[in-house]
């Protein structure tokens, strides 16, 4: 077992995990941050997407030990004092979810995209979300919410 120190959502947190533990397991089992979802575990579905050093990664294919000293942001880090952020609010407004299982991953992929490219075209949004699958309702509401967020500039 290894003792890791992870910087998650601005907090320095200690977690004990197997040496080759995945970031997904360290977050969910180790730290109880279950907003990050366990999906396919093979880097196809994107339900486990988090930000590592500001870019989107699938936490099911990242070694937790590699994340020490890097800034990790999970979906729990988006809201402030119980208030949803602009992107989350717009997901609700545009009906960008049905069952909600893909939503944390979608939010994190969209957050990473907007950091890299604050005014993405629809095509660029599609590429930014190409690692995230929704199996309920499709992507129209999700794309609309991201476009609205880019327009709002927040």
């Amino acid at each position: 077992m290894a003792k890791l120190k992870l910087e998650v959502n601005g907090e320095s947190l200690g977690v004990e995990a197997a040496e080759t533990a995945l970031l997904l397991d360290a977050l969910r089992e180790g730290l109880g941050l279950t907003g990050t979802k366990r999906g396919c575990e093979t880097s196809h579905c994107g339900a486990c997407t988090v930000l590592l050093g500001g870019v989107a990664v699938h936490s099911c294919v990242v070694l937790a030990a590699r994340c020490e000293g890097k800034e990790i942001t999970t979906v729990e880090g988006l809201s402030r004092d119980g208030e949803l952020n602009e992107l989350q609010r717009l997901f609700l407004k545009h009906g960008a979810l049905q069952c909600g299982y893909c939503t944390p991953g979608m939010l994190m992929a969209a957050t990473a995209l907007l950091r890299r490219n604050p005014k993405p075209s629809l095509e660029e949004i599609k590429v930014g979300l190409d690692g995230n699958l929704c199996r309920c309702t499709g992507y129209t509401g999700i794309f609309e919410a991201i476009q609205a967020c880019a327009l709002s500039g927040k």
């Binding site: 995945l22 994107g46 989107a56 990664v57």
Partner: protein, 294 residues
Amino acid sequence: MERKLVRPHSMDEALSQREQHGMDALPIAGGQSLLVMLRNKLIDPKILLDLESIGELRGLQRQSSGVSIGAMTTFFDLLSSTDVQSAVPLLGQAAAKVGSTAIRNLGTIGGNLCHNEPGADLPPALLVLNASVELRSRKATRKVTLTEFFRGFFETAVAPEEILSRVEIPILPQGARGAYIKHAISPEDLAIAGVAVMLVPDENKADAVGELRIGLGGVAPVPFRAAKAEAAVNGKVLNDDAIRAVAEIAASEAEPMSDPHASADYRRKMIKVLVRRAIAAAMERAERNGHGKA
């Protein structure tokens, strides 16, 4: 016994581990394929040898002889590099087609080559770029051309005591133009068939091909150069009939497998289509840009 993680900070340390433990110390680069293989219990190494902290495996240098790329360079680094864009744009084009955004952020050129999974996007492009790789052990450093590197289904020339350290791409001939076309059910999948071409004009005859290179992926146990098809066209004028003939020969050189994504027969047929399209795309690029760099 719990699997160990070893995180060396130098190539010397990493190569010592390989010398001591061989195949039991499996190098992990971006981990985007390896951690899936672990999860699916297809591999069971005693030690994961994390290459992330080895500085010399990073970075891309443009030299007079070509481009030298550290094994840990990510797909995102490649597709966003201005050096790649100007010197070897075909590599950037192929890197942009690998997996999804999250995979491109972490996956590496060295990992992609060493994993050697059929349908990977970089190998066809690197084959037509005449790339070679540097393989290092404690005792020696050797250079292996990419055509010799891929040995079999998920097998490469990397010996148990070695680590792939760099990928070297020689400077392209004047006026060379490339294209990579991938056929997949969904763009983030591995290619059912992937075709890269590099078209080098004849210096003396404006409308003739000096050299046509064709790299095929996903249609045989290993990615390979369609040598017979290439030989059939070099020095000739590339009209519609010649292109169709080249595509036929290339398809005959494949040894495709059937899997749940596509039958062998379908893969062979797709090569014909993709070779024609890739040549057309490279020709169009040549016309659009006039003479200059590929």
